[in-house]
């Protein structure tokens, strides 16, 4: 099994009513639950849009977030396990994020632990 990181970008929720937000939440939660049941889930969470960006040494120039300005900003992530990149992409296609105008970057996590 290989691990993949799913980077969730964009996503448009501003126009959702409380009832629709709830319906969206139900979709996401059901998907997370399914990942767990299928033993694909490793981790996942939201990323705050604030934060800091650090430049290279020797200056270590620290600049402020937010990173939300960009439409491609990463707002959340999942780490899943799957047999192949294709499988990981298939799994990701079920993620409700894609229904809300969001995108997903699927990136293989390279395992260096065995040399």
């Amino acid at each position: 099994m290989n691990q993949y990181m799913l980077l969730l970008t964009g996503g448009d929720f501003a126009d959702l009513s409380p009832a629709e937000t709830q319906a969206a939440l139900e979709k996401y939660f059901a998907w997370s639950k399914k990942l767990r049941e299928e033993n694909a889930y490793i981790a996942g969470d939201e990323l705050d849009m604030t934060g800091k960006k650090i430049g290279p040494a020797p200056d270590f120039a620290v600049t402020d977030g937010p990173f939300a300005e960009s439409k491609e900003a990463v707002g959340g992530y999942y780490v899943i396990q799957a047999e192949s990149l294709d499988k990981a992409v298939d799994i990701s296609k079920g993620c409700p994020h894609l229904l809300f105008n969001g995108g997903i970057e699927v990136r293989p996590v390279i395992d260096h632990s065995n040399g």
Partner: protein
């Protein structure tokens, strides 16, 4: 997966609770800001809860986040400097989640304020108490979103100029104003459904039912008349999906397939009617619900008990001596005593002329004229009704009847 079942959360319910709480804390003039903050709160909840579900004290979580968003925005605008204690106050789950709390009732009271027009009351109630967005209100009122948005702006402006405690009358009158708005909301949805056959119209009826249910579960507003209104809505809406044929034409009661009636709603309606009979005061809601119950629970082969229905109409006429009640009563009289008796009553109504623009009068006349074999006159009355009817479902039914009468006439 259904959150409401699994976690016992309804964002729509929480929306009205949060709005009401913050209107008390930050004041009515900040209603727009509060509405935005409530919406933002749920989006944050979506992001925060989507993987692991909500925290155990999710109501406190929502309340705190909503409050923080409002304070942040006020600070940004340099309006608000003193900061209230922000610790996560315990927000216990109420004994009955559906019951309105005090804040919600005072917000609801503002929405029903007599200085607002009935339509504005409905719109504002849907927005503030029902947790609907402008777009959702527009859909269920079959109106453009921009129209609703403008109307909301105007209504809120009016709201700022009124004294919330004035003109409200005593406690009974206040509760009646809640019921009146919900009754209008329900009727609007019920008649829109004839017009368009649309699912959104049913949504409006269902929203009226769920708010009435909440009123009936709140100690301050749980009165026999509230239960009667709830019964009326359940019973009427039990037929909502069988009222139209596949072409969108209205079906008459005897043409509907009673197997399609929603038996759960009928049972809930009958139950609510039981709770309504505890008081000693008879209201129009009681009588209308009793009439609806006669239809909904009748034996499909024998048909409704017309003489009991007539008794209810007699009582209703005593309470509300209006022409519309007289018209409905005349139809029932016709079902018992025959078409001539009905036509005599209908002609009196017609002579008085107050219902001259109401197609149901001509439509009822046509029905009884046909039954007394006066087909030519029946045809004229149907033509007249068609000129007056505006709803598509009503028009299709009338056209169908007109065709049938014309065929009969040609055969003879």
């Amino acid at each position: 997966m259904n959150i409401e079942a699994e976690w016992n959360i309804s964002f729509r319910l929480e929306a009205s609770r949060l709005t009401a709480m913050m209107v008390r804390q930050f004041g009515l003039p900040r209603l727009d800001l509060i509405e935005d903050a409530v919406q933002e709160t749920f989006i944050r909840a979506l992001k925060a809860w989507k993987t692991d579900g909500p925290p155990e004290n999710h109501r406190s979580w929502l309340a705190l986040v909503a409050k923080r968003i409002v304070i942040d925005r006020l600070r940004r605008d340099r309006i608000y400097t003193a900061l209230p204690a922000e610790e996560l106050l315990p927000c216990p789950e109420p004994a009955d989640r559906l019951a309105f709390d005090e804040d919600e009732l005072s917000l609801f009271r503002l929405c029903c304020h007599p200085s607002l027009s009935p339509t504005s009351q409905i719109i504002l109630t849907l927005r503030e108490v029902g947790g609907f967005t402008t777009r959702e209100i527009a859909a269920c009122l079959l109106t453009a979103e921009s129209t609703i948005a403008q109307r909301l702006v105007r209504t809120k402006r009016t709201l700022r100029t009124i004294d919330p405690d004035k003109e409200l009358g005593d406690e009974t009158q206040k509760i009646e104003s809640f019921r009146r708005v919900l009754y209008l909301m329900f009727n609007r949805g019920y008649s829109f459904q004839t017009e368009s056959g649309s699912a959104e119209a049913i949504e409006l009826c269902d929203q009226a039912i769920s708010l009435t249910l909440r009123l009936s579960r709140s100690a301050a507003t749980s009165r026999p008349a509230t239960h009667a209104l709830l019964a009326l809505m359940y019973l009427q809406s039990s037929r909502i999906n069988s009222r139209l044929d596949p072409t969108g034409a209205c079906l008459r009661l005897e043409e509907q397939d009673s197997k399609n009636w929603d038996q759960t709603r009928i049972a809930l309606g009958v139950q609510a009617l039981g709770a309504a009979s505890e008081g000693d005061k008879m209201t129009s809601y009681h009588l209308e619900a009793a009439i609806a119950a006669e239809y909904a629970t009748c034996d499909p082969i024998i048909g409704p008990d017309w003489s009991r229905i007539l008794t209810h109409y007699d009582d209703l006429l005593n309470l509300y001596p209006t022409e519309v009640v007289r018209l409905n009563r005349a139809i029932v009289v016709g079902m018992i005593q025959g078409p001539e008796a009905a036509l005599a009553l209908l002609d009196k109504i017609r002579t008085r002329g107050r219902l001259s623009g109401y197609h149901h009068l001509e439509s009822a006349r046509a029905f009884f004229l046909e039954r007394s074999a006066r087909k030519e006159e029946s045809k004229t009355a149907l033509h007249q009704a068609l000129l007056l009817a505006t709803h598509e479902g009503d028009r299709k039914l009338l056209q169908r009847r007109l065709q049938a009468v014309s065929v009969d006439l040609n055969m003879n």
